[in-house]
């Protein structure tokens, strides 16, 4: 059965090559830094790696069910503290070697090895305890505690033990990062200017597209023109101001890419006067989100099927965790804002708010790349605060500085930071709001700390059912909407653009290429 399937797959690929012959090229905003799944830092990394590797478990983009291409059976062991995995047969690595249980255990051990300086691996060290190879096709993964969703916790990509000679301390600068070996539908190779993907016939994948190229787009306008000219066949993320150009062409199609992204203004609640909740609430009422949205993204009030919906908490409205009883503040309310600031002990002198005799002025930053999606939003927010009597100095922050300093809680000389979070189908916001400590709160921008919030986050962590998890997060939503470590802005739909010659291109939430086997290119 396995061999005939291989022959069928190979025949299919050969037919595809004969019929198309052309490589499918698509644009990303930047090239992936690495093809090693342990070191994925940006969305482009995750998307590229999705073509090359298989995650042990993934959510089907069609029915949201947890599925696996590598595991054909599983059962809980050790009272729920372990999971036994029966591997599917006939799966090969891109170098032809067979995929075995040893590879799964090697991957787990690499993540647990402190010589692997990977933030992703560090995230798993809290939940994984180890792995045992019971046989060539059976592995048992051990957890540190009982979890209500064990398969969800095994969403990591599997690495080949033989590519590292069994050395579990995996450094980011190994050649594997540029020329990886995976079990995914495509074999990838990072060049100096792009990534080349070649289809690989395998027991569990049957890609129809023999070759793909990932290129860096540069100027967004040039990228759109190139797409219209058929110089490329797809663009992963199209900024809102260019979507009309894509929609206007019959040869192009705009497709939704579910990134569960929401925008925010993080507030440094460790600095006076922002440590006063009333001041944070006043800022919330100063912002006119409707005007911001119209000016920066171009969505007019009352527009139907808007790609941009307001939010009142840290989830997208379509999420089961979103608490619909907490309303979003769509328009500014200067009266409320003034009342709150006065109550907080501030006074307005000559149209400017003062705190302890000094004019209030905030230092505000924003990750630079967000300017492509919402041009000048930083200036518009600053203008609204200025109009309300609060001064500001604004800066755009380079992507690396955002990663190394903003997310790690080191940009404490800023008062406000505008940013965006994106999630997969599992919207775990714990790392954003937990009090920062060893292994927790790793993305807590301004080191926000609130006991009640920590308690609710811990409740989510130990929840044994989906209902319990949802309840915890509903309460969290309400709490955060009151305490306002963030001013929650909106969720903004992400759209991709593909030429119509690319058929059956189902786009998976977050990881994008999960259903790549169904894609066809008739160019």
């Amino acid at each position: 059965m396995g061999r005939s399937r291989h022959l069928l797959v190979a025949a299919g690929i050969s037919a595809a090559m004969l019929s198309t012959g052309a490589a499918l090229t698509y644009y990303e905003g930047a090239l992936p830094t690495t093809l090693n799944p342990l070191y994925a830092a940006k969305m482009v990394d995750y998307r590229a790696q999705e073509l090359v590797f298989d995650r042990l478990w993934y959510h089907s983009p069609i029915n949201n069910e947890l599925e696996s291409r590598l595991v054909q059976g599983w059962e809980l062991t050790d009272g729920g503290k372990g999971i036994k995995l029966e591997l599917a047969s006939g799966i090969k690595w891109h170098d032809g070697k067979p995929f075995t249980a040893n590879d799964i255990c090697f991957t787990v051990k690499s993540m647990l090895d402190t010589g692997t300086p990977s933030p992703i691996a560090e995230g798993y060290r809290d939940i994984l305890a180890g792995c045992t190879e019971e046989s060539r096709s059976t592995a048992i993964v051990h957890f540190t505690r009982i979890v209500h969703n064990p398969r969800e916790r095994l969403g990591f990509s599997v690495l080949p033990e033989h590519a590292f000679d069994g050395n579990t301390a995996i450094s980011p600068d190994l050649e594997f990062s540029a020329r990886p070996t995976g079990t995914g539908p495509m074999k990838g190779s990072r060049g100096t200017r792009g990534v080349t993907f070649q289809a690989f016939a395998n027991g569990h994948h049957a890609p129809n597209i023999p070759q793909m190229q990932l290129q860096e787009s540069g100027d967004p306008l040039l990228a759109i023109k190139a797409l219209i000219n058929n110089s490329v066949q797809g663009i992963i993320e199209v900024a809102p101001n260019f979507r009309a150009d894509v929609s206007a062409s019959d040869e192009l199609a705009l497709k939704s890419y579910d990134l569960r992204s929401w925008w925010f203004v993080a507030i440094n609640s460790k600095k006076a006067p922002l440590d006063d909740r009333r001041v944070r609430q006043a800022l919330n009422f100063m912002l006119d989100r409707t005007e911001l949205r119209e000016k920066s993204i171009g969505v007019k009030p009352g527009e139907r099927n808007s790609p941009c919906e307001f939010i009142s908490g840290p989830f997208v409205p379509s999420s089961p965790y979103y608490n619909r009883s907490v309303p979003a503040v769509e328009r500014s309310d200067q009266g409320q804002a003034e009342a709150l600031l006065t109550e907080a002990g501030m006074e307005k002198v000559g149209g400017r708010w003062q705190f302890k005799g000094q004019p209030v002025s905030f230092r505000m930053g924003m990750e630079k790349s967000l300017d492509n999606e919402a041009p000048d939003i930083l200036s518009y927010i600053s203008n609204q605060f200025e109009a309300a009597g609060i001064g500001s100095q604004v800066y755009k922050i380079p992507p690396d500085k955002w990663t190394t300093e903003a997310i790690t809680g080191h940009l404490t000389d800023y008062d406000l930071l505008v940013g965006k979070w994106s999630f997969g189908q599992v919207e775990d916001v714990n790392e954003l709001f937990y009090t920062r400590s060893r292994g927790k709160g790793t993305r807590n921008i301004f080191n926000y700390s609130e006991q009640e919030v920590d308690r609710l986050l811990a409740q989510y962590d130990v929840a044994k059912t989906d209902t319990a998890a949802r309840d915890a997060y509903h309460k969290l939503h309400r709490k955060l909407a009151e305490d306002l470590p963030y001013l929650f802005l909106w969720k903004l739909d992400t759209k991709s653009a593909w030429r119509t010659e690319v058929k059956s291109n189902t786009i998976a939430p977050y990881y994008y290429f999960t259903q790549f086997d169904s894609w066809r290119y008739e160019g």
Binding site: A30, G218, M366, K368, K396, I397
Partner: protein, 273 residues
């Protein structure tokens, strides 16, 4: 170019830059004042960008970014050029060889590399063209010193000084008037003027590179300020992609031309009679 004409052009071109810089708005305008890509006829004097904002703001803010750093860099090179010429006149072989050695090392450094590293070094809040302009001037100075030393050498160097001393002139007068004012002036002023122009080009290049790389600008706080590079970027879109921003290209090139006219005029005005 006749000297009087050169002086007149210098005054006009520098004056335009100074006026633009002086009237520069502190913060970037985000409010639309006209239709997208309005022409200069629809929104005088220079038209509007893709969001209907006046291009005048680009011109003024860009001038504000480059004016002072370019002048400082030019003066620095002029000063160092004078130093180079005077060192030759002093006739100190040891000092000359040290200067020559430094000249070779600095002259061999890839300038853009050093500038880029310094540009990335600067904290976001300090980003401005001034530091980069000073570094550029220091890297350009060896060439100016070399040329000034060659001119001083052709005069006769230390022997020239001694000859004039024999005529009863003081050292100070000899160095400042006979050497610098009468002989080094054309060379060092030309070098200074070229550096002034190069700093403007450098700002445009660095801002373009930052735009292309998705980095915040190295020369100014782009959240509140626009530069001439943004004008030329719109010009590139006009040429390459038929975006109706040709008026931005014209304005950008015009501003660069004014800078070049200033540099050429300064050199011409300072040349030997």
């Amino acid at each position: 170019m006749p000297r009087n004409v050169a002086i007149l052009f210098t005054i006009i071109s520098l004056g335009v830059l100074v006026v633009l810089a002086f009237h520069s708005p502190e913060r970037w305008t985000v409010m639309a004042e006209a239709e997208s890509y309005a022409s200069p006829f629809e929104l005088p004097p220079f038209g509007a960008d893709s969001r209907g904002r006046p291009l005048t703001d680009y011109a003024m803010q860009g001038a504000h970014i480059v004016a002072l750093p370019a002048v400082v860099a030019g003066l620095l090179v002029t000063f160092l050029g004078i130093v180079g010429g005077l060192v030759r006149c002093m006739g100190s072989a040891r000092v000359e060889s040290i200067v020559a050695g430094l000249r070779e090392v600095v002259g061999a450094l890839p300038r853009m590399v050093v500038i880029l590293v310094v540009a990335i070094l600067m904290p976001l809040e300090w980003r401005s063209l001034m530091g980069l302009a000073v570094v550029w001037a220091l890297l350009a100075a060896p060439g100016a010193m070399d040329e000034a030393a060659a001119v001083a050498g052709r005069l006769g160097g230390a022997r020239f000084v001694e000859a004039l001393r024999a005529h009863g002139f003081s050292r100070v007068r000899i160095y400042l008037y006979h050497v610098v004012a009468l002989n080094l002036r054309p060379v060092v002023v030309r070098q200074g003027a070229e550096t002034l122009m190069q700093v403007v080009f450098l700002e445009v290049a660095l801002s373009f590179l930052a735009l292309a790389a998705g980095e915040p600008s190295f020369t100014h706080n782009e959240a509140t300020t626009k530069s001439w590079a943004d004008l030329l970027y719109q010009g590139y879109q006009f040429i390459a992609m038929d975006v109706p921003s040709g008026h931005a290209l014209v304005l950008g090139l015009l501003l660069v031309a004014v800078t070049a006219v200033a540099a050429v005029s300064i050199s011409s005005a300072a040349r030997a009679r």
